[in-house]
Symmetry: C2
Subunit: 278 residues, 2 copies
């Protein structure tokens, strides 16, 4: 498998960073992640734009513009010859002599066989627990997943599938997914702040306007518990229904019609993207 570091393609065993890199020293870096299907990197422009936003907030200078990044990605896809895959672009704080101050970033692009978290299966849904937490600098896709990784054990011990962050009664997101609520009066709600603006999230918002009323607004845990349907979205999950939160059944405790409909429409959007090419 080939990877790309800074200015060259290397085999993945040579994809290493010096321990002075600020990601290792201080967890300081950003990344983005997208899938390829039929050798096409899905919604790559949106992911590159978000990477650029993340890097900009953390004052990390991206060494390439989007066209250059896309050329590197194109070459990586060609060299690795994986049809369906995940591609991750990481931009770190660089080799910091003082172990604290960002310097020229290290850029790493890796490609791997993709494991989708789960295929959409209406008979299966997520069981969530909640945790009082809100992510730092939430619009930035930083590499800081300290709480997400840490909470895995609690999720496992609870027999749950994942954790929903709640702060002062309002929900934000899962460690790696956005959350949507379909209300009993058929509105689609999703948190308007304290979240990463997921690419799948944004596409769902766009698709959903032709199906039901859509509102980006503060969403409370009560909204979730009173919902008709709840689902999460992410690049590796597309849409997945939520069946329970803290042991409380959500809606009917199974996959709702709006979730299924939006999932189908999102799939179609992906197919259109692939057909169009890039």
């Amino acid at each position: 498998m080939w990877a790309f570091i800074n200015n060259q393609f290397v085999t993945v065993d040579q994809a290493v960073l010096p321990v002075s890199d600020l990601s290792i020293q201080r967890g300081y870096g950003v990344f983005d992640f997208f899938r390829t299907a039929e050798h096409v990197p899905l919604f790559i422009d949106h992911h590159l734009d978000r990477l650029r936003h993340s890097a900009s907030v953390l004052r990390l200078q991206l060494p390439y513009n989007n066209v250059e990044l896309k050329n590197i990605v194109r070459e990586l896809i060609r060299k690795n010859s994986l049809s369906s895959s995940g591609i991750r672009i990481t931009v770190t704080g660089g080799n910091a002599i003082d172990t604290y101050t960002p310097t020229t970033p290290n850029l790493i692009i890796t490609q791997s066989t993709l494991t989708m978290d789960a295929a959409f299966d209406p008979s299966k849904g997520l069981h969530l627990i909640t945790e009082e937490y809100v992510r730092e600098l939430p619009t930035v896709k930083s590499i800081n997943y300290l709480m997400g990784v840490y909470l895995q054990q609690k999720v496992k011990d609870s027999g749950a599938s994942d954790v929903l962050y709640v702060k002062n009664g309002f929900i934000s997101e899962l460690p790696r997914s956005n959350v949507f609520v379909v209300t009993t009066d058929n509105k689609l709600l999703t948190a308007n702040e304290h979240v990463l603006y997921g690419i799948t999230r944004n596409h769902i918002l766009q698709i959903a306007t032709s199906v039901l009323e859509v509102k980006e607004q503060p969403v409370s845990l009560t909204d979730v518990l009173n919902a008709k349907e709840v689902f999460v979205s992410s690049t590796t999950k597309r849409l997945l229904p939520v069946f329970s939160v803290n042991g409380n059944k959500v809606g009917n405790g199974n996959t709702g019609t709006v979730t299924t409909d939006l999932y189908q429409r999102f799939l179609e959007m992906e197919h259109q993207f692939i057909k169009k090419g890039w």
Copy 2:
């Protein structure tokens, strides 16, 4: 310069981690840092115990016991032949195939010429700004310094020296230091929770009992602003006086007698440790 990775000494240019390491992927890892003086690693047992605590909370299995770690440190000090230095032991989440779940940790020990942040100079003090924030898992010396590194620009733009974290009116710590308040009625206060239990902090608490009344308790920003003296402590700072917070002069705006006294006593404690050897 020599470093140590997992099970071998390597030259520092070979001190690298694969990009699949969970520190690079998810900012997941812990570390500890101590100084050496006259080839003696100061208070090493305290630092190793804290490293063990940090690793344990994040469920990272340290591959060596304290005796073994001290033998490696002893050999590193011998090989590098630096009299005064900083030694950092980092333990990461390891090479994570799924990019999310901790696995066998990578252990890295590096030694570098030490730059003390500043020598104690009674004519110089820190000027702090405050930020509404509390560190995640504060008793763990994790590598997550996202906010600390991010806020450097704000500190610089404010013409300040560093940032003090405040949450709901109560202070916790600086990104890399603890904070002490000497009240006008001669009590020494320091936050009892939401902080990293600094090794220097703990020694100051120990030393100070013979000088004045000592209280570990919640400390408000008002306590700081009404203080007779404020100082910070850390391994690389020892004790440094604070002269102002958000532009407000603290105490007389210069170095107080308690701060100076405790600094001298801490220096003496260091000297005794070096004399005793390890």
